[in-house]
């Protein structure tokens, strides 16, 4: 009995706690730095809890740096990207998984191949395309870019999830009188929820965190997104640590909340490939 407890403590709890601290401490540090005054941030004595709590950093970052605008832009771009990505990747995933057509393997290979191209290489050509479309400086150029870069990976993911759902289910529904489309909507979709959640997570994170395209395609201060806003804190001659931490907390918030809601679907989505009767 005692040995079992010792074993569990040594080999389970201790490593887990060490890992948790290792992962959580930087986040904790960012959080308390956001609430410290600038003088306390650079002082020699390390304080693990702010001696003097202040919300000045948040106020500065929200009002004078303009995070209220950047937050709205980031939200807009990310949510629209995820929605468009989901709709199209589900359709592509279904087709790739269920239909057998000529060139299917080649198409799959092509999708995988696009993942090897570094985004920065396509910066100038994409910019020229947007310029001729008259979209430079608009948020829609960002949305189009993010959807384009996320679609292949999302499609591959979705085709994997759809493959896990036995074909017999739709066939049974169609035998009972459903058209293919209503079979998809009524039978496949509810089972696909974990897959949809997993795919949307990837797309959201990618769109939310992107810096390069947001900086290069947008030329109006009012249209910048959060990653660009964060980099304003790092000036040529000085760094506003408190404001940077406050901005980071604001940038982390939606992702953390998003994850909090969907994490149970994410776990079941990962496991859904394992056992099927």
């Amino acid at each position: 009995m005692a040995t079992r407890l010792l074993n569990r403590t040594l080999f389970l709890y201790l490593p887990l706690w060490a890992c948790t601290l290792f992962i959580a401490f930087p986040l904790y540090w960012t959080l308390i730095t956001a609430f410290k005054t600038e003088a306390e941030v650079v002082s020699r004595d390390i304080s693990y809890f702010p001696a003097q709590l202040t919300v000045d950093n948040f106020v500065t970052v929200w009002k004078s740096v303009g995070f209220s605008v950047y937050f709205r832009n980031s939200m807009l771009v990310s949510v629209i990207t995820v929605l468009i990505c989901l709709v199209f990747s589900t359709m592509v995933g279904y087709a790739l998984s269920r239909f057998r057509f000529r060139g299917r393997k080649a198409f799959l290979l092509l999708l995988l191949g696009t993942q090897f191209i570094p985004g920065a290489m396509l910066l100038i050509p994409l910019f020229m395309i947007f310029k001729s479309l008259g979209l430079t400086g608009q948020l829609s150029s960002l949305i189009i870019t993010y959807v384009t870069f996320n679609l292949p990976f999302s499609s591959i993911l979705m085709s994997g999830f759809v493959s896990n759902i036995p074909q017999q289910l739709e066939e049974a529904a169609m035998v009972d009188g459903c058209s293919r489309l209503s079979a998809i909507v009524h039978v496949i979709f509810p089972l696909l929820v974990p897959g949809i959640v997993a795919t949307s997570v990837f797309a959201f994170i990618d769109a939310w965190n992107d810096f390069l395209f947001a900086l290069m395609f947008i030329s109006k201060n009012a249209n910048f997104t959060i990653p660009v806003g964060l980099s304003y804190m790092i000036g040529e001659f000085n760094i506003a640590y408190g404001a940077l931490a406050a901005g980071s907390v604001i940038a982390l918030l939606p992702t953390v909340i998003f994850f909090g809601f969907i994490q149970k679907y994410l776990v079941s989505g990962i496991m859904s490939g394992s056992v099927k009767g």
């Binding site: 002082s43 100038i124 910019f127 479309l133 293919r180 900086l215 290069m216 804190m233």
Partner: protein, 446 residues
């Protein structure tokens, strides 16, 4: 039935996509002009819009420009300035992309180290015709104009400098008072104080070295001040970096490491160095006067002061490697006249005083009045005939790369694995080779 619907939908979407792309065509559509770069056309009120890019935007600089733009627009109601702030770390990337795609702004805040590159690419408009007709022409220090001209291959004026940053030794005045020492005035004082201010009982070090990122840039800026040499290259094109006086300085500096400086200094960037000064770990640092604001915020005005790099013990002259920032006009601008008006406004005495006071830089317009003692001292130093500039060879294409590549070698010198002589010889050799390649290319271009 299903198949036909799907086929029809596909045909419809394909057709409409092709149709829309045909409508797009070349150049900007009316809807695109509003979002595009470069000056937009005049609207009904005949108001001209010029685009201004700030290369060091942030919570401190952006509000300053907003105020200056407000003042400018009030004085010139027919001109609207569209401000775009770029984060400092990625600003150059944005400019390079803009140059490649032809989407440059009208006016931009440009550092002196970018001028030779942009001018060589033919992106900037020479300001000489505007400058010669300007009423403030004689108030801008000739040394600044000449230095800026020297940055470009054809000696034309491609940037209007408005702010100067010089290297300075920051020191703790309260520590000096405790030790009963007078304020430092010479290089001898500096080296003596690194020892006198070190107090291991109080965990105090006399000096904080910059051994990490950009250590070479800063080292370079201090070398000439000590040795008194006035040029990076001699007449035959050989680099003067490994002159014995320069080597002597680096040896003296390396000897301070770990004895009068913290051991962690070997990887210090400017953040760590300034933080050590602000947190009371180090009594002196060599930086530039733009960290004045941070020092004031953390230490308070009465605990620190600055000494601009002292005169050389060999020649008695004060030499600085200048860091000038200013404004340039891009060639693609559709409104050069209005753009020059804005540049001229930013360089007027009032604008320069406003900007440089808040940023703690030295104004280039002698009529600009700034009350901060450090800035007043700086202006006095610049007015001294014993002060001279040793401009860095930023025209060398691999100048920045050489400096970055040498950083590990400087660390080796600090760690005692390389002698200062070996390090300086290697450095001089790289510069000499780079200059020879550059001169060769210039000759071929002619």
């Amino acid at each position: 039935m299903k198949r036909t619907t799907i086929n029809r939908l596909t045909a419809l979407s394909l057709g409409s996509t092709l149709l829309l792309s045909a409508c797009g065509g070349e150049g900007t559509t009316p809807g695109g002009a509003a979002g595009g770069q470069g000056s937009t056309g005049n609207d009904a009120k005949d108001k001209v819009t010029i685009h201004f890019w700030d290369s060091n935007a942030g919570p401190t600089t952006t509000p300053l420009y907003e105020e200056l733009i407000k003042r400018f627009e009030q004085a010139n109601p027919d001109i609207h300035v569209e401000y775009l702030g770029l984060p400092s770390a990625s600003a150059l990337q944005k400019f390079n992309t803009a140059i490649q795609t032809g989407d440059t702004p009208d006016v931009a805040m440009v550092y002196d180290r970018w001028v030779s590159d942009f001018a060589a690419k033919g992106e900037l408009l020479p300001l000489d015709p505007y400058f010669d007709k300007w009423d403030q022409k004689d108030n801008i220090g000739p040394i600044y104009i000449q230095t800026t001209r020297d940055y470009s291959h054809d000696k034309k004026l491609y940037q209007m400098p408005n702010a100067l940053v010089l290297s300075i030794i920051w020191y703790r005045t309260d520590w000096l008072k405790e030790a009963g020492l007078p304020e430092p005035a010479t290089w001898e004082d500096f080296f003596a104080y690194t020892e006198k201010l070190t107090d291991s009982a109080k965990k105090r070090y006399g000096f904080s070295l910059r051994g990490g990122p950009a250590s070479i840039t800063q080292l370079e800026q201090t070398l000439w001040s000590y040795s008194g040499l006035t040029s990076y290259f001699d007449e035959s094109g050989k680099s003067t970096i490994n002159d014995p006086k320069n080597v002597e300085f680096v040896e003296k500096l390396a000897k301070l490491y770990k004895v009068y400086t913290p051991e962690s200094n070997i990887t210090n960037g400017f953040k760590e160095m300034v933080a050590e000064f602000n947190s009371g770990t180090a009594g002196m640092i060599i930086h530039n006067q733009s960290s004045y604001g941070q020092n004031e915020n953390t230490l308070g005005k009465d605990k620190f002061a600055g000494l601009y790099l002292p005169a050389s013990p060999f020649t008695g002259k004060r030499a600085f490697v200048p860091s000038l920032s200013g404004y340039s006009l891009f060639k693609n601008s559709k409104h050069p006249e209005e753009s020059w008006k804005f540049i001229a406004f930013l360089n007027s005495p009032e604008s320069q005083a406003y900007w440089n006071a808040k940023q703690t830089n030295i104004p280039t317009n002698s009529k600009a009045q700034v009350e901060t003692p450090t800035i007043k001292n700086g202006m006095a130093v610049m007015n001294d005939p014993n002060t001279l500039f040793v401009p860095a060879p930023t025209y060398l294409p691999d100048y920045g790369q050489i400096q970055t590549n040498l950083e590990p070698d400087f660390q080796a010198v600090l760690a005692g694995k390389m002698t200062a002589q070996q390090f300086m010889d290697k450095w001089a050799d790289l510069y000499t080779k780079s200059k020879a390649k550059y001169d060769e290319r210039v000759k071929q271009a002619k």
